[in-house]
């Protein structure tokens, strides 16, 4: 337990000390939030209504998809995991602790957004704070799990960018952050349900913001939690201690199973 606490404390401090992580955890989400609040809230009435959930979801996407995978790949390539292994650091800690520390950083960002958006941009605050927290934790867990999985299956930093952008860009475009999901063609709406951000926005709207969701908001919560659990389980299974570890021949294609909860959601909700 003592070791886990030391590990957690070091990783949390790294999230502020490391310039790239500081950028992804704080500067980029907050900068984007201020810019969007100043520009979009004036010209897009929809955005004003969803500033808090949309910018919280954006912060989660940035800190997880852009912040988590690369350090994992670098640590593996630089022999850090091998050093951890001979000193008894369990693989589960290596994968779980970045998820927990990133969620803690994101809780700070979410608090800043929730408290300042009504004051700065006259954006509505959550009407049900408990549900807001539930949705936030579910989304942060789902996206962190996915990001850890990308870090585990990517053989290089370039690949982490590719995997992350496959989720990040469509989430921004069709995830309900910039305009309502209902404005999309039905097929695109179904396709959007493959992304955690769509479920997060649906659940935020349906459970925490006092508006209606586009589909079952509790179904979205279930999908996000299952998505996070499946991603974490796959990451543990596919984890390699070193870049040249030929002892473990498990195909990264298995990582595709992470889509299962989201595919099921298309048919169920």
């Amino acid at each position: 337990m003592n070791a886990f606490v030391h590990h957690f404390a070091f990783m949390f401090r790294s999230g502020i000390r490391n310039k790239t992580l500081l950028m992804m955890n704080y500067l980029f989400p907050l900068g984007f939030y201020l810019m969007m609040g100043l520009i979009m809230a004036g010209i897009n009435p929809f955005f004003k209504e969803v500033t808090v959930p949309a910018m919280t979801t954006f912060a989660v996407l940035a800190a997880t998809l852009l912040g988590i995978p690369d350090p994992l790949v670098n640590a593996r390539e630089q022999g850090i995991f091998r050093s951890y292994k001979v000193n008894g650091v369990p693989a589960f800690s290596i994968l779980l602790i970045p998820i927990l520390t990133t969620m803690l950083h994101l809780a700070i960002i979410a608090t800043i957004i929730v408290t300042t958006a009504p004051l700065l941009f006259d954006a509505p605050a959550p009407t049900n704070m408990l549900n807001f927290i539930i949705v936030f934790v579910s989304m942060a867990f789902a996206s962190s799990g996915l990001s850890v999985l990308f870090g585990v299956i990517s053989s290089s930093s370039r690949l982490t960018v590719l995997w992350s952008q496959i989720i990040f860009l469509p989430s921004m475009m069709i995830g309900g952050l910039m305009f309502p999901l209902s404005m999309l063609p039905e097929t695109a709406q179904k396709a959007a349900m493959l992304f955690p951000a769509t479920h997060a926005m649906n659940a935020f709207n349906g459970l925490a913001m006092g508006t209606a969701g586009d589909f079952s908001p509790w179904g979205s919560i279930l999908t996000l939690i299952l998505g996070g659990l499946v991603a974490l389980a796959l990451a543990v299974y596919l984890f390699r201690w070193g870049s040249h570890n030929a002892d473990k021949k498990r195909t990264p294609l298995l990582a595709g199973l992470v889509l299962l909860p989201y595919v099921a959601a298309i048919f169920l909700f």
Partner: protein, 305 residues
């Protein structure tokens, strides 16, 4: 009879069709410094990493204090300390955090005394990437010995270190040995291996080429002793053919260099010749074959010294 602390028996490691190590067997006794030498690709790293539990052997058996690194990696954790060749720590971790972090996983108190001992005072709050290469290696060593392991693996421990730190590190290795720590030393530095090791194994193409004490290893082979002589009037230039037991002769930087397989008669004849010809001896050096000479002889059998 003392039980070996490390037992390697018929160890085999392959990567696909490539056989990195084949039928390797050796034993290391408690408190020994055991040098593991070999050219690149000889199988040193595969052997070390398998002993450390980082790789799975494809055959044979490995035991450290009776523990199989594959079957019981958690049992091995506090038994061994490993100074990895490069990196091994996150860039943003501080020296103090690193000591606390690894001590916590080994369930021991952090040993901050090692910070001063290894010349890292004033660097306690410095991040890993802010340390010089030598400081990074010293921190890596501090972390490897902080939990007082029975067996310490050192991979190129003095690479990139200045002379003073290298001497301090050798001093520390001797202290650890006196305390009973067994040290496996993988190095390309033959002088270091010869000076520090009680016994040495030289690997070649994944197999054990030779094993023994540095003296035993250097005593085998061609056994040519090098005699370098310089005189005032260079009288030796006129009469080399009559010197007994000389197998090879060269002249470099004012020195006549003889390779002799019977040092007594050769040196006696050289001195006698100088006195007879009324020349003055300026310098005479006798050097037995070094470990490096023997290593080159084993690893490049086609090339003469």
């Amino acid at each position: 009879m003392i039980e070996p602390i490390i037992q390697v028996k018929d160890f085999r490691k392959t990567y696909g069709d490539f056989v990195a190590v084949d039928k390797l067997s050796f034993e290391v006794h408690p408190g020994e410094i055991f040098g593991l030498l070999g050219p690149n690709g000889a199988g040193k790293t595969s052997t070390l990493e398998s002993l450390e539990g980082l790789r799975h052997p494809n055959g044979g058996s490995l035991k450290i204090a009776g523990i199989d690194p594959v079957q019981n990696p958690s049992g091995l954790k506090n038994m061994i300390g490993v100074q990895l060749q490069s990196g091994g720590l996150p860039e943003s971790i501080t020296v103090e955090e690193a000591l606390k972090f690894f001590a916590a996983y080994h369930q021991v108190a952090p040993r901050f005394d090692l910070i001063d001992r290894l010349g890292l005072h004033g660097k306690r709050k410095a991040q890993y990437h802010q340390l010089s290469t030598g400081q990074q290696r010293r921190l890596s060593l501090a972390l490897a010995i902080a939990h007082r392991p029975q067996v310490l693996f050192l991979d190129e421990p003095t690479a990139g270190l200045d002379v003073a730190t290298r001497v301090e590190l050798h001093h520390m290795m001797r202290e650890l040995k006196e305390e009973g720590t067994t040290i496996i030393l993988a190095t390309h530095d033959m002088a270091e291996a010869e000076e520090m090791s009680d016994r040495i194994a030289i690997l070649l193409n994944g197999r054990l080429a030779v094993t023994g004490t540095p003296m035993e290893i250097t005593a085998t082979g061609s056994q040519l002793t090098k005699v370098s002589v310089r005189t005032q009037n260079n009288i030796l230039a006129e009469n080399n053919a009559n010197l007994p037991a000389v197998r090879q002769h060269t002249f470099k930087d004012g020195y006549h260099i003889y390779f002799s397989d019977e040092i007594g008669p050769t040196v006696a004849a050289i001195i006698d010749h100088i006195q007879t010809q009324q020349d003055n001896l300026i310098d005479l050096r006798v050097e037995r074959p070094s470990l490096e000479d023997r290593f080159l002889e084993i690893t490049n059998p086609g090339e003469k010294q």
